[in-house]
């Protein structure tokens, strides 16, 4: 093949097909440029950032999701490695990206309602969209370079968002802490990735796993094991920071308290979903490097089944790290939430705890890859990934609703302390009911969607525990934490409903018929609806899982 043919091949076959697959990301980039241009060219159009953001997100959702056709059909048509296999476009990318875009749409509406009257929103929307592009890269990463780029592109705009209230000392402190912690964690992660990529002789994630399998089969020296496991731990530092997993969680409560409730909502949902997507990608690449993620078939390297079988120690290592982190994160988040008096701090610790819950199915998925004499069985692993995707879809509504109510109450009362919510049920009963539903759903009580999310997750953990008995401990930690969390979520509802109203407070009357009330209703409704209509989400969750394992 001469240079000309090579060029033709890359431009015509790879690039054109790849560009079609990244249409949503391109749309987001175009939206960013449009917002910036509109500010210069049409200064009289005050609402331009919001309108353009909504148009851009709607277009991205339209082009990025297979609206015609079933979930099963989407799996086969979507799966392809793109841009010479540095990214991968499969149903996991499509479904999680759709959730992110849906969240961004609801979030834009929330930001517009709650910050009504502030005219300069250009930077806010541009940064949000920029971070979204980075998150889309994170969930489709298939190459070390994309992992680095995605994490940085998702983090750097968030540092600025945390410090958006420039004149407030709390906000600037939050931004500084976030930026310093974030840059440090990203640096450690880059070092870890350099060790992994160098030690394995390639930067393409599935090929790294294939080389690792070859090394394990040919006998691996203790020095190599040390370097590789150190590299793996360092990568977990970076991912753990994005997930706010203990012990890399220090930033979360401070940033959530210092930043506005809007920014906190974005960090708590979008950033976390993308980090879970990245964790899932990394785990799947190293535990089960499927053929479709390679640029060219690797049949000559190793047969698929023996490749997967050779990676068994790697899977044990991943399960051990993720399971321990999940158990510690979950327990610490719930225990620390007890002493909180500030609502945003409480929600920050609740977010940490939920990050722990959502890491459990990742451990379960990796543990459930079984290699027997009759081949590789991945049905259980797919169920576990599907439970993670389902959890993300429900978590999106729960946490956005919680932060939205916090922001609306801040606008009405000027306070984010739980004690100031006392007796709110008398003035705004509708809003209190919404908050109660959200809190019960976060605990996971039936008949709310949060129960379904926990149910599918614990079910996959039980499956995994049959294979790997150590996971029974993780399961019991998860169950115990669910009971623990009941009390501090209930405290908020108790203060709102039962405590007497303080004398000094102005009446924050927010009826459900107002714009704000209707928005809260809109976000709370899915928590009831999804409990009964979960079978609308599950096929897509299973479709998302089916290409990963």
């Amino acid at each position: 093949m001469n240079f000309n043919e090579l060029l033709q091949d890359v431009v015509q076959k790879d690039t054109l097909a790849s560009l079609r697959a990244v249409q949503p990301e391109l749309t987001l980039c175009a939206t960013i440029i449009a917002i910036l241009l509109a500010k210069i060219l049409i200064p009289a159009w005050k609402q331009s950032p919001f309108h353009l953001t909504v148009i851009g997100l709607a277009t991205a959702m339209f082009v990025g999701f297979p609206w015609h056709g079933s979930a099963a059909a989407a799996v086969s048509t979507l799966a392809q490695p793109i841009f010479t296999a540095s990214l991968v476009s499969d149903s996991f990318t499509t479904v999680v990206r759709f959730f992110l875009l849906t969240f961004a749409m609801l979030f834009a509406a929330f930001a517009e309602i709650s910050t009504d009257g502030e005219d300069d929103r250009t930077e806010f929307y541009v940064l949000i969209l920029g971070a979204l592009v980075g998150m889309c890269l994170m969930i489709s990463a298939n190459h070390v370079l994309i992992v680095l780029l995605g994490v940085e592109m998702a983090s750097v705009p968030c540092y600025v968002l945390a410090g958006l209230k420039r004149r407030q000392s709390k906000s600037s402190e939050a931004a500084l802490k976030y930026a310093v912690f974030g840059a440090g964690a990203a640096g450690v992660m880059m070092f870890g990735l350099s060790l992994l990529a160098g030690g394995l002789g390639t930067a393409h994630l599935p090929a790294m796993a294939a080389n690792l399998a070859k090394m394990i089969q040919g006998g691996i020296s203790p020095q190599q094991i040390t370097i590789l496991s150190l590299g793996g731990l360092m990568v977990m530092v970076g991912v753990g920071f994005k997930l706010s997993a203990v012990p890399f969680h220090f930033w979360a409560p401070d940033v959530f308290e210092g930043a506005t409730a809007e920014v906190a909502a974005f960090l708590s949902v979008a950033s976390k979903a993308a980090a879970l997507g990245l964790l899932m990608r990394l785990c799947s690449a190293f535990a089960f490097p499927a053929d479709m993620y390679f640029h060219s078939p690797i049949g000559e390297l190793l047969p698929q089944a023996s490749l997967i079988a050779a990676l068994a120690p790697v899977r044990q290592y991943i399960v051990a790290i993720v399971a321990v982190l999940a158990a510690v994160t979950c327990t610490f988040g719930n225990l620390a939430a007890y002493g909180q008096t500030n609502m945003k701090r409480l929600l920050a610790y609740s977010t940490i705890a939920h990050a722990g819950y959502m890491m459990m199915p990742v451990a379960a998925a990796v543990a459930l890859i079984r290699v027997g004499s009759d081949g590789v069985s991945v049905d259980g692993a797919r169920d576990a990934v599907a439970s993670l995707v389902t959890y993300i879809s429900i978590y999106l509504f729960m946490n956005l609703a919680a932060f939205a109510i916090v922001a609306f109450l801040r606008n009405a009362t000027g306070s984010e302390e739980i004690a100031d919510y006392a007796g709110l049920v008398r003035r705004s009963p509708g809003l209190t009911v919404c908050m109660a539903i959200v809190m019960f759903s976060l605990v996971g009580l039936p008949p709310l969607a949060g129960f379904q999310a926990k149910w599918v997750m614990f079910y996959s953990l039980i499956e995994a525990a049959h294979v790997c008995p150590a996971l029974w401990a993780l399961l019991s930690v998860g169950l115990l934490n669910t009971i623990l969390s009941l009390f501090y979520y209930l405290r908020v509802v108790r203060v709102m409903a039962l405590s007497p109203e303080p004398l000094y407070r102005e009446a924050p009357t927010i009826p459900l018929t107002s714009m704000v009330g209707m928005y809260c209703g809109l976000l709370t409704a899915p928590m009831l609806l999804l409990f009964f209509a979960l079978d609308r989400v599950l096929p897509w969750a299973h479709a998302a899982a089916s290409t990963l394992f």
Binding site: V144, L145, L148, L149, E152, V156, Y159, V160, G163, R166, R167, Q168, S169, K170, S172, E173, A174, A175, L176, K177, A179, V180, A183, G184, A186, G187, V188, M190, F191, L193, S194, L195, A197, G198, G201, T202, A203, H204, P253, D254, E257, G258, G339, Q340, T341, N342, R345
Partner: protein, 112 residues
């Protein structure tokens, strides 16, 4: 057969980058001045870069290399480090405006 008697090879580069990494992490954890912390982060990133360069060079590690991937990633890391430093310095400047210091320990309004 100590490392000092061999011709310069991959292990020497790895030792230097490991020293850079440790210096950077120490700097990040012990410095109270924001600028000092940011310098520590730069050291860690440069350690990673040195790794990518060494692993990517056929002159250093023979046939099984990262190849151009390693050098490209190093270029990208330089750009990312610059972008991150620009944002972090802007945030530090803003912090200085509100707190009249760049001492991280003075940021103690957020606790709990």
């Amino acid at each position: 057969m100590s490392i000092f008697c061999e011709p310069v090879g991959l292990s020497h580069y790895l030792v230097v980058s490991a020293i850079l990494f440790v210096c950077g992490v120490l700097c990040m954890t012990t410095k109270r001045n924001v600028l000092g912390v940011l310098m520590g982060i730069e050291l860690v990133l440069n350690g990673a870069n040195l790794n990518f360069m060494a692993f990517g060079s056929p002159a250093i590690c023979g046939t099984s290399t990262l190849g151009l991937d390693g050098q490209l990633i190093a270029l990208f890391v330089i750009v990312l480090a610059a972008a991150e430093a620009a944002v972090a310095l802007a945030i530090a400047l803003n912090y200085y405006h509100t707190h009249a210091t760049v001492d991280v320990d003075r940021g103690n309004e957020l606790k709990g």
